[in-house]
Amino acid sequence: MINRKKNIILLTFLFIGSIINACKQNQSNTQQDSLMTQSWEEIEQKAKGTTVVFMKYLGDKKANKHIDEYVVPTVLKRYGITLKIIPGQGNEIVNSIMTEQEAGLAEGQTDMVWINGETFYQLQQIKGLYGPFTDKLPNSKYINYEDPIIKYDFQQAINGYEAPWGKASFIGITDAARVKNIPQSMQDFEAYWKAHPGKFTIPLDFSGYTLLKSWLVEIAGGIKELDGDFSQEKYDKYAPQLWDFINKNKKYFWKNGTTFPASNVTVSQMFGSGELNFAFSFGITAIDKGIKEGLFPATSKAFVFKAGSIHNTSYLGIPYNAPNKEGALVVINFLLSPEAQIKKSDINNSGGMPVFDYQKLEKQWQDQYQALPKIKYGMSEEAIQEKAIKETHSQYMINVAADFRTQVIEKP
């Protein structure tokens, strides 16, 4: 008996050992394959009747509804593809792909992912993406890949490894009825907090970290200073000032700055209920959407922080081990089409800015885009465009997120 037990324990260790060894084997680097040599028709043909698993952020009720009620049925009807949406964002995506890589799995669980910034950067670091593939998409013709806001994802050239899906610009939201002089600079905010304590907070998600980056840019005296590759030197120079600024003032934050909400969804809700006076968004259409839903008061207003409105694009990528790459290509191509882009931009759906180049559109699409309900409450696309600034390198995001925790949250 005891012998048998020993054997089993021994076997277990052997088992673990073998798996560890398996991990050390080289990961497949054969990115280019027969897939790209096929014609688009062949790809569509192959995709027919398959299932595409799409991992995306599911925090936006309206956007979820748009996907469920428009994208999924349309894709099924037109291409015979069953689109399955599964939740996951940022590092969850990286983590999943990474674990699959460690397990040496030729076929992963996801076919396409919604990513940008640090997620793209990290996926590239572990060679987790399939590509380049954007040239293959027929609807790429509507997109200006030389536009810097599309060409670079957080200062990282996309090189065809992800296809743009939506453009976003970071804005603040406030209620004109409650906040008479909308603060913009950090100085303004400091004054405002002191006068109205408890009405401001920073969500612990990409919205909050983008706000922190906006302030970092403001401290650095403009985006020029932080343009280009990540610079540890510059970061070490400006970040401490940012933490000082927040630590000095956090006692005036919501719940005295002892805790921060996990996501901007919560912040928007508290803004709606009057618990907070400020919320944030990446979509210029967010305010119209919020008012329509009855979440925000009709006096809500958008504003841009002093540093400018950080502009970025979110993308669709294909994991290196996606089992159904053809299907993913077809779905991505559909999502890039003027039709899908216009539908998505509708404030009744997801909202936000489309990724196509308006000039490249056929007349009918141009008309349709013009016919979309106009924004009534937020800022116009043009007004924000004027204040648009580039995203900083992803490493800033990663560092800001980590240091906000160690330098602010964990400091009493």
């Binding site: 277990t12 673990i16 572990i126 002892t258 805790t259």
Partner: protein, 284 residues
């Protein structure tokens, strides 16, 4: 099925579900934390453990998690003892014997959601206070969720474990023939107070100690409740480990596994104590 299964088969299935996942999971976590596996790891290193122990994060997390478990269990045991000693027969039959089971129908995530809706600044309790004119606006209401005193988490955990302890003490009350002991104590001239504090409570506590330790271990591992109702810092062990593994910095992942290892050994230690305390008792 009718015949007791073949011994080897029995043993294999048992190991498949107990020792194997344990060794495999723990082995993987240990290997990862020492840099032996993982795409971004480059071979054996102590670095992850060094980083982990150089910051106070993990110590605080262990203490905080233990404190939460301790606080919610103490309150829960206090209430259960009081209720059972006051109404020793209420939970054996009648409506309360059914009602007491209700919290058992709550998964932690639902309980957390409910307590959030109930206790938050714009929650039902706040609305009630507003209607009663106790507060004028949201900010007047005290912080009861995501709060510095962890009221939200502790109330939820207490609610979740209350039925277990009430039922445990109600059945121990009978099994240990507490009524007889109480009568004996009275006959020997003890006052009501003395009987409760010198006889009833010590007997119940002593008999329930292994269960308390096991329950303490469960509470150490709780995830959903602190995730929804906790503050951003400190975090409980599970929340901290999951954050390290799933949030922004990929280089934090080995630390996440290291935390998992620490937690596993903590559980092992506590289980060991629980087993020492219960020579002949295995029921939870």
């Amino acid at each position: 099925m009718f015949k007791p299964l073949n011994k080897t088969l029995n043993f294999s299935i048992l190991m498949l579900f107990t020792l194997l996942p344990l060794l495999a999971g723990l082995g993987y976590a240990i290997a990862y934390s020492f840099g032996l596996v993982g795409v971004l790891n480059k071979g054996f290193t102590l670095e992850n453990w060094k980083i982990l122990f150089s910051t106070s994060e993990v110590y605080i997390s262990v203490l905080y998690t233990s404190w939460l478990a301790f606080a919610s269990l103490s309150i829960c045991i206090f209430i259960s003892l009081a209720v059972v000693l006051a109404f020793p027969k209420k939970f054996k039959s009648g409506i309360f014997s059914y009602l007491v089971y209700m919290p058992l129908a709550f998964p932690s995530i639902v309980a957390a959601f409910f307590f959030f809706q109930f206790l938050s600044n714009a929650g039902i309790l706040a609305r009630l206070c507003h209607q009663l004119g106790i507060i004028n606006q949201i900010s007047d209401f005290p912080n009861l969720v995501n709060d510095s005193y962890h009221i939200g988490i502790i109330s939820t955990q207490t609610f979740l474990s209350l039925p277990f302890f009430i039922l445990l003490y109600a059945s121990l009350y009978q099994a240990e023939k507490l009524e007889d002991y109480q009568k004996l104590a009275y006959a020997l001239g003890a006052s009501k107070k003395q009987t409760i504090f010198k006889i009833s409570i010590p007997i119940l506590l002593k008999r329930s100690l292994p269960s308390i330790i096991i329950y303490f271990i469960f509470k150490l591992g709780s995830y959903e409740v602190p995730l929804l109702l906790g503050k951003s810092s400190p975090e409980t062990i599970s929340v901290l480990a999951v954050r390290k593994l799933q949030k922004f910095n990929l280089l934090d992942i080995p630390q996440g596994y290291a935390i998992a290892v620490i937690y596993a050994f903590l559980v092992l230690l506590l289980l060991f104590i629980a087993f020492k305390k219960s020579k002949h008792q295995y029921e939870v």
